[in-house]
């Protein structure tokens, strides 16, 4: 099986937020929750660059390690998914996650955060694939339909790449060689303990 990863080529990202919009629309993510976001470093200054960030589906995921009810599970494609029926909304995964991926429908209110929500890599959850129940909890399951995540598919500049780690890494390397520069794959060192040098 593939080892699915995300890669954001920050030399291409133009902060159009189409990935954010695509994700929210595809999964009907409620107001206030952003499974994906675009972070701009050095905004308005020399060296400004934007990175689209969501759950990176880490190797040895910290969220899964700290979960007090062990609601996370890994798929055959090495995605890190979670079972909302088991989640207690304690917020531990949010403390541990390096990328701020876990989101909660509520904040405050006696600690009742509600069930955690995060990027599923468009792979749904533990429910039966592409059922209304699954859609309600996790959004659509494009992976089960043989499609890649919509954020990457929609990316106007093809900055955001999704797919097998080796394939997207080779695409990125080719780009870097062709244009002569590349600032590396943001989050890869933290998420996959791997540096992507061209």
């Amino acid at each position: 099986m593939a080892r699915l990863k995300f890669l954001c080529d920050s030399d291409r990202c133009i902060e159009c937020n189409a990935c954010v919009t695509a994700c929210k629309n595809e999964h009907e993510v409620p107001w206030g929750i952003n499974r994906r976001r675009v972070v701009t470093l050095n905004d308005g200054r020399p060296g400004e660059r934007s990175i689209s960030m969501a759950c990176m589906h880490c190797t040895d995921a910290p969220c899964a390690a700290v979960c007090p009810v062990s609601c996370f599970y890994g798929t055959a494609d090495a995605l890190v998914l979670h079972d909302k029926d088991l989640c207690i909304g304690c917020g531990y995964c949010f403390y541990a996650c390096p990328f701020g991926a876990p989101q909660y429908p509520r904040i405050g209110n006696f600690g009742g955060r509600g069930k955690m929500d995060k990027c599923t890599y468009c792979a749904g959850g533990p429910q039966q694939d592409n059922t209304p129940v699954e859609y309600l909890q996790y959004g659509s399951n494009r992976i089960a339909e043989g499609k890649l995540p919509l954020c990457a598919e929609m990316c106007s500049t093809k900055a955001l790449l999704a797919g097998d780690g080796d394939i997207i890494a080779s695409i990125y390397r080719e780009r870097v060689q062709q244009r002569g520069y590349g600032s590396g794959a943001w989050g890869w060192r933290t998420a996959y303990k791997q540096e992507l040098s061209a």
């Binding site: 920050s10 206030g32 972070v39 050095n42 403390y95 541990a96 390096p98 520069y181 943001w186």
Partner: protein
């Protein structure tokens, strides 16, 4: 009107036909229509046939060649650059370190990689927070291992102590007389804090160890139901616990202020001393426990309330610190309270009834808290001397 030949027109103008000249446009060409149309001609007023050419403020300013030929004054050329303009550096050289390098630096140095987001949740501007790794280490390794060692180790020590020494008897035996040690408020408050603490401790231990101990036994669904419920209990019971701690701070602080008697009590060997070194209402160990529970409990409560309302801090690093303080303090308190429970129940004969009924045996009070008993007896004597009627209520029975 007939058309005048130009010579005739000039003649008329010459001998004073001014009215005629005012009606007629100058320079009327030969062959012009005899009757002027009522509507103005096309181009009238715009420099057409009959229009007056408007006077420009500056002639030759907009178009055409200026008569003087001094074009520099009208359209200045860009100045010749002083320094040569070089090509911009490649993209990689503009923004400092590359991704892997930045991540490594932040991971080593601590601190988040912070940017700007265009969504309302500004906290999402943190791109990468490497501290999560340290907190994970605390949660999965330090807290579980140290907590287990602390709690199980303390239980083991107390079991050994019980097997070795057994319960500490009242040396003089029960006297059959009792003396009031704790009032109603003190006892009610104690049991409110005690029951809240047990609930908080058990539900907290479930969050830390339940996934290893109970989840395999109950199954994922049942364990989640249990943990969800115990989480709610933990959140709500925190309030009576905190209230009780504050009451304890108000009613017991004076009797727990350290004195020289406590130094002597510790020097004599404390709880392991032969016989009973003299002590006031509380001995040094009880005072230490009191201040530890009060300070540690309030610290755990404060950090817990911050975790309960994460929007107050709204800072992931501080939330991690709050959790470390909360969980670490809680484990230490559980270990300390285990000692307290042991001494107050099976560890020392006659101790439990102090909190159960409010009264202790006279001999127990004489052995454990002799100075306090003397004071109490003296107070009773004074009260008896002043008014014999209330002597029995205030003093030793």
């Amino acid at each position: 009107m007939t058309a005048f030949p130009s010579a005739a027109l000039a003649a008329m103008l010459a001998f004073g036909g001014t009215a005629m000249a005012q009606q007629q446009a100058p320079g009327l060409a030969a062959g012009a229509p005899e009757v002027q149309s009522a509507a103005p001609e096309v181009g009238a007023g715009r420099g057409g046939a009959n229009g007056q050419q408007p006077e420009a403020s500056e002639r030759h300013s907009a178009t055409g060649h200026p008569p003087g030929g001094d074009r520099e004054a009208i359209a200045p050329r860009p100045p010749v650059p002083v320094a040569p303009i070089t090509a911009p550096p490649p993209m990689t050289a503009r923004g400092g370190a590359d991704a892997a390098e930045a991540e490594l630096q932040h991971a080593l140095r601590g601190g988040v990689i912070q940017g700007m987001v265009s969504i309302p949740n500004q906290a999402a501007g943190i791109l990468i927070q490497p501290e999560g790794r340290d907190w994970r280490e605390f949660r999965t390794r330090i807290l579980t291992i140290a907590g287990a060692v602390l709690v199980l180790g303390m239980l083991g020590l107390l079991a050994l102590l019980y097997l070795w020494k057994g319960p500490q008897r009242i040396e003089a035996g029960r006297s059959g007389r009792s003396v009031e040690r704790y009032g109603v408020l003190e006892r009610v408050n104690h049991w409110m804090v005690a029951s809240s603490f047990v609930l908080l401790g058990l539900t907290g231990l479930n969050i830390t160890f339940g996934v290893h101990l109970l989840r395999p036994l109950l199954g994922p669904e049942n364990f989640t139901a249990l943990t969800l419920g115990s989480q709610a209990v933990h959140h709500f019971v925190a309030f009576p616990f905190t209230l009780g701690l504050l009451v304890m701070g108000a009613i017991w602080a004076r009797d727990n202020l350290p004195t020289w008697v406590d130094v002597a009590w510790v020097k004599a060997g404390g709880p392991l001393a032969k016989g009973h070194p003299p002590a006031g209402r509380f001995n040094a160990a009880q005072k230490a426990l009191y201040w530890f529970v009060l300070g540690g409990g309030l610290l755990a409560a404060a950090s817990g309330f911050l975790l309960l309302a994460p929007a107050i801090l709204d800072n992931i690093s501080l939330l991690q610190v709050a959790h470390i303080v909360h969980a670490g303090m809680a484990m230490l308190m559980i270990a300390a309270i285990l000692v307290h429970i042991y001494v107050g129940s099976i560890g020392a004969e006659g101790a439990f009834e102090a909190m159960a009924t409010g009264r202790v045996d006279y001999n127990y009070a004489r052995e454990h808290n002799g100075l306090w008993l003397e004071e109490k007896v003296q107070d009773a004597h004074r009260a008896a001397a002043a008014s014999p009627a209330v002597a029995r209520a205030a003093g030793a029975d």
